[in-house]
Amino acid sequence: MKVRFKIWRQDSPIDKGSFKVYEVDGLNPDMSFLEALDHLNEKLVLRNEKVIAFDHDCREGICGQCGVFINGRAHGPHENTTTCQLHMRSFEEGKVIVVEPWRAKAFPVIKDLIVDRSAFDRIIEHGGYISAKTGTASEANAIPVGKDIAERVMDVAACIGCGACVATCKNSSAALFTSAKINHLNSLPQGKPEEHQRVLDMTAQMAKEDFGHCTFTGACEVECPEGISINNIAEMNARFLKAKLFR
């Protein structure tokens, strides 16, 4: 299989960057997209060129470290998938595949396809946890949690923090990411004591990090590898209002 990659190259954060085209041969349809990039990189080394830097780790769709824009879509042509789970069989022989890093002010490019997503960590730092010290827990079954609530919580707790929601949003909003963590913790009895402060702190940090506001275009939920629903943003907004009123 042969394709033409058009890939964003940018040597450093201050470098302007540009697209470069690479003809790649010797691929097969069962290769993953990232394996095709590995393959290209080996060729580049032997041609004495610098390799394309891209982020990846687990390559099974759960760590959230990979993620690029492929032909104008976050994580490529399929819905609810990560870049590492995309295979070359999803592309046509001989066609151009355009590959770019996440584009968002809050995610500056470090090199080539690698961006800095530490803004997500700082949102979690501002309340994305339950303040309980190791060693202070009571018997787990002492606090029952209904199966329906546990399931709903799991739906949002599944967020892998890849940043596709931000990258695909025209406003570069982190509302889906932030709401997932808020709704996860605030829906559980264990998270109740800090619920109001959590919403206020996490949303304040989100605003500080150069993310845009949510205008409910719904683009995020289409690209979210875990299929996290945009309803979570509405729920977060309701929780925010409640926190403002009742704190």
Partner: protein, 636 residues
């Protein structure tokens, strides 16, 4: 040097308590003057960093990923074991201890294994408090399922994403302590050496993976939580960045390496489908709860799975191990699959797989129940293979997975270098020669949250009044100089082969000779081949770019250089152990029906290897079975 495991006095159930009663304490005002380095931010690393910070220590935590949340604990699917006995099915701490000891084929310490079972129940309380959405029953109580090698239901789970949920809980606790300014986090950094001063671990040298800068960090103790090293096989279930460099560098500085060759080959991964493949995806072992494993009775059968009638299918696990059937432990299930595949019964395009079939489970329980239990795994299977496993059986194959081996640690989780600790998968402690499913999240969490924070003070109490060292000490300067020299050297080779080329070569040698079954001739030849790969690597490798930038080829090359040396030690270890036990299967030592032949009289010890300039020197920690008599492991 005589190895002292420092096992506390008393009956099994009193040991941990006795240890805590006698261990030294440190006044809170003094704790804040002490610094601890934690390398790795997975379940054990993040758990330890957060808990040590809560106790008052200043923590610096390092990881190579872009965020602590990526650590490979995230990928564990199935669950975490705990002796809660919520199912009222006869479980207890003793039974869990016994299952784990037996599962490990009696090659681990009784005291450690007992502590693992003893602390498991409070750990579930702990994670529930942190907000982990464990699966629940309709009444709101926690749900359980079974895992391999066990006849009770003691596994707690969060869909097929248990590792992710536990890791994210640990990560959030870590960030809680970062906000409290008690932890400083260094993502995108890689530890390249350990600094030992006057025989004590005092710091590390790291490379900033973005700027390429080499930096020195000093502390009163160093904790390694760097995970497993099965990427030595190249194709494994691990993340691409997982590596053995930190523990290998510690080994070269004096930390003994225990049972390096004990590697678990997981029976239910997806088969390799091309030469260029970079990793093997795991399908959770929980699938074996309802799926049945089989191969065609006829050799080289080319019919489609659904066209093969029931009487022509060989459910070989049920046939060979009637009492455990498809839930036989991993080492046994993998070996049985290999035996069938090697004998011409393999299925799939490359004849390297066996079937995992849900037809009967769907008939018995209904499609909805199966979807509810394993829906996300079936979805994942379809994404990767394009096949609908509700309609035809999955194809699965054994893959390199977990490292039971690792740095030798005593009961306090301290290595043979005072002040250097190893926690989680990177140590050798509780699993013996084979780890039971859902015990890995358990061990990583316990080491980090409950055990290390209770043992490290025993050492740090002696460091309180010691004269402080700083990063200008000659040991730091020399270590940095050596690393810089190594990096410039490797970049200057400018040969004609890529790093991946050598990694593929190494992987092939290791998979053929040091994986599911091993023999003397194979291991001897592997050692020679690896030496050749090492020589070729240092003459022919080509890396583009330079050292003062983000350079992924350089990162890979430095990791591979260590993997090659580690591979030599693994083969040396496998060759030395003239017996079969757990995952270590030496073809020369098997029973008439092909089971592992353990030689307790000669080999009831943990092999702990010391690094010397010319060879690996063996030390033995004799295992003393005071409470349980080792028996022949049978799952028949």
């Amino acid at each position: 040097m005589k190895l002292n495991a420092k096992i506390p006095e008393g009956k099994l159930e009193e040991k941990w308590r006795n240890y805590q009663l006698k261990s030294k304490l440190i006044n809170p005002a003094n704790k804040k003057k002490l610094n601890v380095i934690v390398v790795g931010s997975g379940l054990s690393g993040a758990g330890a960093a957060a808990t040590l910070a809560e106790l008052g220590y200043n923590v610096q935590c390092f990881c190579y990923q872009d965020s602590a949340r990526r650590a490979h604990s995230v990928a564990a699917q199935g669950g975490i074991n705990a002796a809660k006995n919520y199912q009222h099915d006869g479980d207890s701490v003793w039974r869990m201890f016994h299952d784990t000891l037996k599962g490990g084929d009696f090659r681990s310490r009784e005291a450690n294994t007992y502590r693992l079972a003893e602390l498991s129940a409070p750990l579930i309380d702990h994670f529930t408090q942190q907000g982990v959405p464990f699966a629940r029953e309709y009444g709101g109580v926690l749900a359980n399922r079974s895992f391999g090698g066990v006849q009770v239901q003691r596994t707690f789970y969060a869909r097929g994403q248990t590792g992710q949920q536990l890791l994210l809980a640990a990560y959030s606790q870590l960030y809680k302590m970062i906000r409290a300014k008690k932890v400083t986090m260094f993502p995108r950094t890689e530890m390249l050496d350990l600094v030992v001063i006057d025989g004590r671990a005092k710091g590390i040298i790291i490379r900033d993976l973005v700027s390429g800068e080499i930096k020195r960090y000093v502390a009163d103790a160093v904790v390694l939580a760097t995970g497993g090293y099965s990427r030595v096989f190249r194709l494994s279930t691990l993340a691409i960045g997982c590596n053995g460099s930190a523990i290998w560098k510690a080994h070269k500085k004096g930390a003994f390496f225990a049972a390096p060759s004990f590697t678990q080959i997981h029976p239910t991964a997806l088969p390799q489908s091309s030469e260029t493949q970079s990793k093997l995806t795991l399908m959770s072992e929980s699938l074996r709860n309802d799926g049945r494993i089989w191969v065609p009775k006829k050799k080289e059968d080319t019919r489609k799975a659904n066209d093969i009638p029931e009487e022509e299918r060989d459910y070989y696990l049920e046939r060979r191990y009637p009492s455990f059937g498809n839930l036989a432990p991993r080492d046994i299930a993998s070996r049985a699959a290999k035996e069938r595949i090697d004998n011409g019964h393999g299925v799939g395009r490359f004849r390297n797989a066996v079937y995992l079939d849900f037809k009967h489970a769907i008939e018995r329980l209904g499609l909805e129940t199966i979807k509810d239990r394993y829906g996300n795994l079936f979805k994942m299977y379809k994404k990767i293979t394009g096949v609908d496993a509700y309609k035809e059986p999955m194809q699965i194959s054994p893959a390199a997975h977990f490292s039971m081996g690792g740095l030798w640690v005593d009961y306090e989780l301290m290595t043979t270098i005072p002040g250097l600790y190893a926690i989680g998968e990177c140590n050798f402690s509780d699993h013996g020669a084979n780890r039971l499913g859902a015990n890995s999240l358990l061990q990583a969490s316990l080491d980090g949250y409950f055990i290390l924070p209770n043992t490290i003070n025993n050492y740090l109490a002696s460091e309180e009044n010691r004269a402080p060292v700083d990063t200008n000490h000659p040991a730091f300067v020399d270590a940095e100089k050596k690393i810089k020299g190594d990096i410039e050297h490797i970049l200057s080779i400018n040969g004609n082969q890529t790093v991946d080329h050598f990694h593929r070569e190494l992987g092939k040698v290791m998979w053929q000779n040091c994986a599911m079954s091993r023999n003397q001739a194979g291991l001897e030849s592997a050692i020679e081949q690896i030496k050749k790969i090492k020589k070729a690597f240092w003459q022919e490798v080509k890396i583009t770019g330079h050292s003062q930038e983000l350079n992924t080829e350089l990162e890979k090359a430095l990791r591979l250089a260590d993997f090659i040396e580690l591979a030599l030690l693994m083969c040396t270890d496998a060759l030395q152990r003239d017996e079969s036990c757990g995952a270590h299967f030496r073809e020369e030592y098997q029973t008439k029906d092909g089971e592992a032949w353990r030689r307790d009289k000669e080999y009831t010890y943990v092999s702990a290897w010391e690094y010397t300039k010319d060879y690996f020197k063996l030390h033995k920690e004799e295992l003393d079975f005071e409470f349980v008599k080792p028996t022949v492991r049978s799952y028949k």
